[in-house]
């Protein structure tokens, strides 16, 4: 049995830092887009129109029931056949957004459904248009009520970014794999990588907690 030897990992700390940075960037970008897709899909899936609901249903089910890696491959290797050539980072962000959007939309749908009908009626009784009601009466409390689930989903999205190493995105896992290849110190690399991911998740959670307090102060009030 080899004793653990971290020197080969530590000497490449600069590359790990680059990897962490890229992981953070693509994950944050994907979270923003996934949220946007999620809101849109949730609204469509709650519409009375079958023609709008059905595509959303298909989207959500196909994405949730197939491996993420396949979605990544299709976007990176498949789209060029249709004339759309994305660089690896853009392809990764797109794939993660689509993947995250499917889960996010289900969460947001639940949030919108949890809004008391009375709230919507109050908006109507005040003469607000449906769009105004959605924007000012429904969306914010809906997001507020499902915020913890959204954060949990975002954490999974962050962790899923490790998959895009398959299309040559030099994020954290990919850098880790490179170092493994060079040093053959797999256990050492994984231990360090795991620590970094836990730290990233902690940072994300912390940031989201602050954000929650800023965006939804009314959740934390007591009489």
């Amino acid at each position: 049995m080899n004793p653990l030897d971290f020197s080969g990992v530590f000497s490449r700390a600069d590359r790990l830092v680059d990897g962490v940075w890229l992981t953070a960037q693509i994950s944050l970008a994907a979270m923003v887009f996934a949220l946007a897709i999620g809101v849109l899909a949730a609204v469509l899936s709650l519409s009375g129109n079958r023609l709008l609901r059905l595509p959303v249903f298909a989207y959500v089910e196909v994405i949730r029931n197939t491996p993420f890696i396949v979605q990544v491959f299709l976007i990176y290797f498949g789209l060029p056949a249709l004339g759309l050539r994305l660089d690896p980072v853009s392809a990764a962000i797109l794939a993660m957004s689509i993947y995250g959007g499917a889960y996010t939309s289900e969460i947001i749908r639940a949030g919108i459904q949890s809004i008391n009908r009375g709230q919507i009626e109050a908006g109507r009784a005040l003469g607000m248009s449906p769009l105004t009601i959605f924007r000012h009466v429904v969306l914010k409390p809906a997001l507020a009520s499902v915020f913890p689930s959204l954060v949990a989903q975002f954490i999974l999205l962050l962790l899923s970014s490790s998959v895009v190493s398959a299309i040559s995105v030099a994020e954290l896992t990919s850098v880790g794999n490179d170092i493994q290849g060079l040093t053959l110190r797999n256990m050492e690399v994984y231990l360090i990588i795991a620590l970094i991911y836990v730290a990233l998740v902690a940072a994300l959670k912390g940031g989201m907690t602050v954000l929650e307090r800023l965006l939804f102060p009314f959740k934390f009030l007591r009489r």
């Binding site: 049995m1 396949v70 999974l156 797999n186 256990m187 994984y190 231990l191 990588i193 795991a194 902690a202």
Partner: protein, 214 residues
């Protein structure tokens, strides 16, 4: 030297699918048992137990499953013993699933209104009877949709088992893809297999959700 992507390969991938389903069963059973333990710790009145569970959930949820599995399988050598691949999988997946199920189930238990617990206590029901006859039956209805949703992700995550040398569906796809150099076709086939396994489950979960919400 390139092979044509043929029916033979599809059969090969079907054997991988068999492994995937077997692994999923192991993960679901192990995860449910470990998840129950963690849930009980998490909702227990003992602050130390609940705190340990909380830290556990945080760390394991934040660690990529591949790394957890890697440490379970290869890390044991550093402790001076070896484990069989299936043991490592059962352990790693149980630990991983426990962290998520513990969270989901705790939420479900806590979302049963306090009045229910008080109603039971006021009748003189013991803590265990209250849990068994009053809280859990109601929590199960709340917990079922997210639990089923997580199970689907768990099934897809069994693809990581290739790291301990098990030739499950994704690994067969890798092997075939590298033999035929047709990754798109091969992975699409694999995706279809996953879909056929998972879609009925999510559909079931949707039905359930609808039925429970009325």
């Amino acid at each position: 030297m390139f092979q044509q992507f043929s029916l033979n390969h599809v059969y090969f991938m079907l054997t991988g699918l068999g492994w995937t389903i077997g692994l999923a069963a192991i993960a679901l059973i192990g995860g449910s048992i470990a998840g129950s333990v963690l849930t009980l710790m998490r909702v227990s009145a003992n602050p130390v137990l609940s705190r340990i569970a909380q830290v556990y959930i945080f760390v394991v949820q934040g660690t990529p499953l591949l790394v957890t599995l890697f440490i379970a399988y290869f890390g044991s050598t550093y402790l001076g013993f070896t484990v069989a691949p299936l043991t490592a999988i059962a352990v790693a997946f149980s630990f991983y699933a426990a962290a998520f199920l513990g969270d989901i189930w705790r939420g479900a238990i806590q979302s049963v209104p306090v009045g229910q617990r008080e109603g039971a206590h006021a009748l003189g029901l013991s803590g265990a009877d209250t849990m068994r006859h009053i809280i859990i039956p109601q929590a199960i209805r709340i917990a079922t949709p997210p639990t089923v949703g997580f199970f689907v992700q768990l099934i897809k995550n069994t693809s990581l088992a290739s790291v301990v040398g098990i030739v499950e569906l994704t690994r067969t796809a890798q092997i075939v893809s590298n033999a035929t150099f047709k990754p798109l076709e091969v992975y699409l086939t694999a995706a279809l297999f996953y879909f056929l396994v998972c879609f009925p489950i999510t559909l079931f979960s949707r039905r359930l959700e609808k039925r429970l919400s009325v």
